[in-house]
Symmetry: C2
Subunit: 123 residues, 2 copies
């Protein structure tokens, strides 16, 4: 199936949405549950990006279905909240995130070459 072909090649899954990439980024440091991803994104972006609950959980469902994430049954700490669902990057997820990072790096490089990142200090 074409589904299989897509899974085989990370490049066919690009570009990722900003939300999806933030989620994958938050999981590069280890597995987390949904709510913790939400807080991690807010922290990393210093509040500039905050995921709405609806956006987050639907994005997680999509990433699971696409095979970029997998759910972990084991809990990092015993006795943690039973409601939590822990997610971790799959090999594919990591590969796709890396491919997306390279794509963005190329865009940022072009922006820098064209003077977009020097001229303006603030905002």
């Amino acid at each position: 199936m074409s589904q299989e072909r897509k899974r085989a090649d990370p490049l066919h899954l690009l570009p990722l949405t900003p939300v999806a990439f933030e989620i994958l980024l938050a999981l590069t440091t280890g597995e987390r549950h949904g709510y913790a991803i939400m807080r991690a994104v807010e922290e990393r972006t210093e509040g500039r990006t905050s995921l709405h609950a609806g956006t987050l959980y639907r994005a997680l469902a999509r990433l699971l279905e696409g095979g970029l994430l997998e759910e972990r049954d084991e809990r990092p700490q015993a006795g943690s909240d039973e409601r939590r669902r822990y997610y971790a990057l799959t090999d594919l997820g990591r590969a796709v995130a890396a491919a997306e990072a390279r794509r963005l790096e190329s865009q940022v490089g072009a922006a820098r070459d064209h003077g977009l990142l020097e001229g303006m200090g603030g905002a």
Copy 2:
């Protein structure tokens, strides 16, 4: 109106869609007409991203309406195809592109910190 507030603050227009950012990027080197933007994007990305005509022209219309681009009446070369419509970045458009570039730079930096850009040579 809130439309005015949005125009005043580039940060409220983020994140840009990948397509929108590519278009702004293509215009940082000077004004171009739609079809030339399409080719410029393909060239910059070495064929990895190709804008469909429908996607491009609707994105251009949106960017015009949002005040990120403006249409130029003067033609860079006399006698060029009369059908062409030339677009150029506005100050707002440049500011938004710069803000988006910084946002992406931050994501790429995080990816690098987490080893996403070193571990894998190929793909």
